[in-house]
C-alpha cells in the first residue's frame, strides 16, 4: 500500500509504503525513495478521515495539525478495518454550551427587538412625526398603492366625477366633525373592482370603487370611512409603516444573503402589506361606531356588510383563521355592531348616493 504523506511540520511530500501493525496500534511508514527520512508512525486510534477523494481518501491524525495522508482506495478500505474512530468528527473549537449561549443571546435579542422594542418605537415615532413628513409618506404610499394595483393587471385611476366627489366630501366632513378629527382626511376613490379601503399616512383615505359597488347603501360607506378615520385618528398608518420598515430591515439582516441583497425587497414588500394589529382594528371599529352615533347615522348596514364579506370569504375557500388574520372575525364585528351600534338616518340623500355610485364615470388622466 502506498501513500503520500505530509507531516504537518513542512510542506515536503513523503512518498511512503504503509505498514499497518494492529498489535502495536500503529501504522508505520517506509520511504519509497532510498535514504529518505522515515516519518513518525501514526496511532491507528487517532486516525480520522478528512474526506473521500476520487482516488481514495485523505486522512489526518487527531491533535496533529497539518498531518495529511493521501491513500488509494485499497489502502483506505484496509485502514477502515483497523482504525476504530476513522469517521469520528474532529473536535470542534466550540463547546455546545457556548454555542447555545450565543444562540440564545442572538435570537432573544432579535425576537425582543422585533416584538417589543420595534412596536413601541414605531408607536412613539408615529406620534412625534411632523405633519409635513407624514404627508410626504402619505403621498408616496398612495403612489405605491397605485403601482401595485397597476401590477394586478388593471391600472387604477382616480375617479373624479364632480357630483360624486362633492357628495363624498360632504360625508367625510360630517364624519370628521362627528369623530372630533382636527382635519378632514382627503378621501380618494380609485377605479378598481377589489373590495377594499385603506388609511394612509398624512390623513389620506383610499376607497377602491369595488367597495362602493358592493356597499348596498351610503351608511355602509359611512361606516367604512369611520373605520379608516379611526386608523387616521390613532396614527395607525404611520405606525405600521415605521414598524414594517424596521421589520423588513431586521429580517433582511437576520436572513442575510439568502436572496443576495434582498433585504431591500423584503422591506418594500413589508411596506405594502399595510396590516395593523387586532387591537388597532378593534379600536378603529369602536371609533366608527361612536362616530356614526354622533352623526346620527344608522350603523346596522355596516354590520350586514361585515356578515356578507364573512360569508364570501368562507365561500371563496380561502378562509383565514381569525387569529391569523389581522382583522377581527367578521362574525364578531357584526355582533359588536348589533351590540353597540345605534339606529339613525341614512348617511346620504338619495341624490348624493346615486352620484357617488357614478363617481367613476369620469376618470383622471393616466398620470395623477
Amino acid at each position: 500500500m502506498r501513500g503520500r504523506l505530509n507531516d504537518g511540520r513542512t510542506s515536503a511530500v513523503h512518498e511512503v509504503h504503509l505498514i499497518v501493525d494492529p498489535e502495536a496500534g500503529y501504522v508505520r511508514f517506509e520511504p519509497a525513495v532510498e535514504a529518505a527520512a522515515v516519518p513518525e508512525p501514526w496511532p491507528l486510534a487517532r486516525i480520522r478521515l478528512v474526506e473521500r477523494t476520487g482516488q481514495g481518501a485523505r486522512l489526518t491524525v487527531e491533535g496533529w495539525e497539518g498531518a495529511r495522508l493521501q491513500v488509494d482506495a485499497e489502502a483506505r478500505d484496509f485502514l477502515t478495518l483497523h482504525c476504530p474512530d476513522l469517521h469520528r468528527r474532529p473536535k470542534a473549537n466550540w463547546s455546545g454550551l457556548r454555542v447555545a449561549m450565543w444562540v440564545v443571546l442572538a435570537f432573544g435579542g432579535l425576537v425582543g427587538t422585533l416584538f417589543v422594542l420595534l412596536p413601541r418605537v414605531a408607536h412613539q415615532a408615529a406620534i412625534v412625526l411632523p405633519g409635513s413628513l407624514d404627508r410626504q409618506l402619505g403621498a408616496s404610499s398612495e403612489k405605491a398603492m397605485l403601482t401595485m394595483l397597476q401590477l394586478s393587471g388593471r391600472a387604477a385611476r382616480r375617479c373624479v366625477q364632480p357630483a360624486g366627489m362633492a357628495a363624498l366630501d360632504r360625508l367625510a366632513t360630517r364624519l370628521a366633525a362627528a369623530g372630533g378629527l382636527a382635519e378632514t382626511p382627503r378621501v380618494t376613490v380609485l377605479n378598481s373592482p377589489v373590495v377594499n379601503a385603506f388609511a394612509l399616512p398624512g390623513e389620506r383615505i383610499l376607497l377602491l370603487s369595488g367597495i362602493i359597488d358592493r356597499a348596498e347603501g351610503s351608511s355602509t360607506i359611512a361606516g367604512i370611512l369611520g373605520h379608516e378615520m379611526g386608523h387616521v385618528a390613532h396614527h395607525d398608518p404611520t405606525e405600521a409603516l415605521v414598524r414594517n420598515a424596521g421589520m423588513g430591515l431586521l429580517i433582511g439582516v437576520a436572513m442575510g444573503d439568502l436572496f443576495g441583497g434582498s433585504s431591500a425587497g423584503i422591506a418594500t414588500l413589508m411596506l405594502t402589506r399595510n396590516a395593523y394589529s387586532r387591537e388597532a382594528e378593534q379600536a378603529a371599529d369602536g371609533f366608527a361606531l361612536s362616530t356614526l352615533a354622533a352623526a346620527g347615522i344608522d350603523s346596522q348596514p355596516l354590520g350586514r356588510f361585515y356578515s356578507r364579506i364573512g360569508r364570501e370569504q368562507a365561500a371563496s375557500g380561502v378562509l383565514i383563521p381569525s387569529l391569523l388574520s389581522t382583522h377581527p372575525d367578521p362574525g364578531d364585528r357584526e355582533a359588536r355592531v348589533a351590540r353597540e351600534g345605534r339606529g339613525g338616518a341614512t348617511a346620504m340623500s338619495n341624490e348624493d348616493w346615486a352620484a357617488l355610485l357614478r363617481i367613476c364615470d369620469q376618470l383622471a388622466p393616466d398620470k395623477p
Binding site: T10, L105, M148
Partner: protein, 401 residues
C-alpha cells in the same frame, strides 16, 4: 523535485506540467442546488454550512504542484460568527432607529447623528473585510501547511481611511494608489506557512488602465452639461445628447471591469512568496465577454420572474376580495416573496457556474511560479488562529468566496 507526475497519488495532469491548475472536482451544480434547497427550507440558517461546502469545492479544485488546496473551516464557525454579529449589532440597530425619531423632532441633531452612524458603518465594513480575509486564510491549507494573515484590523482601517480621503480629494483619480496601498498592507502580511509574501506594485503603473473609464465617465458628464448649458431651468425642453451619457456609462462600466482584471493580473505579477515569484498571463477579453453575456441572461430571468409576480397579483387581487383595510392578501404576499427568492437564487447559481468558475479557472491556469523547488521546503505556520467565523462580513456578503 518531487513533482506530481512521479507520484501515483498526486493529482495528475497533462504535459507540460503547469505549477497551478484549476481541476474541477465535479459536482458543483448538484452542490449549488442542494445548498439552495436546504437554505430555502431552513429559512436561511443552512447558508453558513452551504458557504463552507462551496468553499471546500473551490479550494479543493485549485491544484498547486500536484496537491490541491484544502479549506478547513466549518459552517459552525461561520454560524457562531454571525450570532456574535447579531448580538452586537442589535443595539446599534435600535440606536439607528431612534436616530430617525430624533431626526423627526430635531433635524439638525438627527442628521449629525446619522452622519456619525454612516461613518461608523464604513469603519466597521473595513474592519470586517480584514477579519474575513484573516479568517479565510487561517482556514486555508496546502500540503498540511496553513496560510495566515498578519497585521491588525485597526492599522488596516486607518490606512483605508487615509487613502479614501485622498481619493475623495482627487475626485477618484488616486483610486489605483488607494487600492494598491490596501493590497500592499494585506499581501506584505500574508504567508503560507513560514513563506512570507511581498507585494511591490505601484499605483502609477495602473494609472493608464484607470484613466480610461475615469475619463469616459467624467467626459460624458461634462460633454452633456456643456451641450445643455443654455437649457438649464427651462421647463418642457428635453435635454440634448442623452446618447453621450449612455455611451459614457456603458463604456465606463466595461472600462472598470477591464481595470479590475488588469489590476488582478498586476497584483499577481508583483507578488512573491519568499523566493517564489508569481506570474500571470491572464487575458481580459474572454472574461468581459462572459460577464456581458451573463448580464443579458440575468436580465431575461429577472424579467420572467417579474412577469410571474405580476400575474400572481392579478389573480389574487381579483379573485379574493379582502376585508376592508386588510392590505394585500397574505397568499399573494407569500407567493411574491417565494418567486422573488427563486429568481434571485437561479441568477446566483447561474453566476457561479458561468462567471465565477470561468474566472477562477482562467486565473489559475494562467498563473506561473518560479523556483518551484522551494515549495517542498515550507515550514508550518506559527501564526495564531482566529476561532470564530467572519460574522458581519457574511451579513453584508463581503468576499464572494
Amino acid at each position: 523535485m518531487s513533482f506530481a507526475a512521479k507520484s501515483p497519488l498526486a493529482v495528475s495532469w497533462s504535459d507540460p506540467p503547469l505549477p497551478v491548475r484549476f481541476m474541477d472536482r465535479g459536482g458543483l451544480f448538484g452542490l449549488l442546488v442542494k445548498n439552495a434547497f436546504l437554505t430555502f427550507i431552513t429559512l436561511g440558517i443552512y447558508r453558513f454550512w452551504a458557504r463552507a461546502a462551496l468553499r471546500r469545492y473551490w479550494w479543493g479544485s485549485i491544484v498547486i504542484a500536484g496537491d490541491a488546496l484544502e479549506y478547513t473551516g466549518t459552517g459552525l464557525e461561520l454560524f457562531i460568527g454571525f450570532l456574535m454579529f447579531l448580538a452586537i449589532m442589535l443595539p446599534f440597530g435600535v440606536v439607528y432607529g431612534l436616530t430617525g425619531l430624533l431626526q423627526a423632532s430635531n433635524p439638525l441633531a438627527g442628521a449629525l447623528l446619522r452622519l456619525v452612524e454612516v461613518l461608523i458603518f464604513f469603519v466597521l465594513i473595513q474592519f470586517v473585510t480584514f477579519r474575513a480575509r484573516r479568517y479565510r486564510l487561517s482556514r486555508t491549507m496546502w500540503r498540511g501547511v496553513r496560510a495566515s494573515q498578519g497585521g491588525t484590523g485597526g492599522a488596516y482601517l486607518w490606512l483605508v481611511i487615509k487613502w479614501t480621503l485622498l481619493s475623495m480629494i482627487t475626485l477618484g483619480l488616486a483610486a489605483p494608489w488607494a487600492r494598491l496601498a490596501a493590497t500592499r498592507y494585506l499581501m506584505d502580511r500574508t504567508a503560507l506557512g513560514d513563506l512570507e509574501a511581498r507585494f511591490d506594485g505601484r499605483g502609477r503603473d495602473l494609472l493608464a488602465a484607470w484613466a480610461t473609464p475615469y475619463l469616459l465617465f467624467i467626459g460624458s458628464i461634462v460633454g452633456f452639461l456643456v451641450m445643455n448649458i443654455g437649457r438649464l431651468g427651462t421647463p418642457g425642453v428635453l435635454p440634448q445628447g442623452l446618447w453621450l451619457l449612455f455611451i459614457g456609462y456603458i463604456g465606463g462600466g466595461l472600462g472598470i471591469l477591464a481595470y479590475f482584471i488588469i489590476e488582478l493580473r498586476y497584483t499577481i505579477r508583483h507578488t512573491r512568496f519568499g523566493e517564489i515569484a508569481l506570474g500571470s498571463s491572464l487575458a481580459i477579453g474572454g472574461i468581459i465577454g462572459r460577464v456581458v453575456g451573463f448580464c443579458f441572461v440575468a436580465g431575461i430571468v429577472l424579467g420572467i420572474i417579474s412577469a410571474i409576480i405580476a400575474g400572481v397579483f392579478a389573480s389574487m387581487g381579483l379573485l379574493h376580495p379582502a376585508a376592508p383595510g386588510a392590505g394585500l392578501p397574505l397568499a399573494s404576499f407569500i407567493s411574491t416573496f417565494v418567486s422573488l427568492i427563486i429568481g434571485l437564487t437561479l441568477v446566483n447559481i447561474l453566476r457561479i457556474l458561468w462567471i465565477d468558475r470561468a474566472i477562477v479557472r482562467q486565473v489559475c491556469d494562467t498563473l506561473s511560479l518560479s523556483n518551484i523547488d522551494r515549495l517542498d521546503r515550507i515550514g508550518q505556520s506559527t501564526a495564531p488562529v482566529p476561532k470564530a467565523g467572519e460574522g458581519m462580513a457574511d451579513a453584508f456578503d463581503i468576499g464572494a468566496f
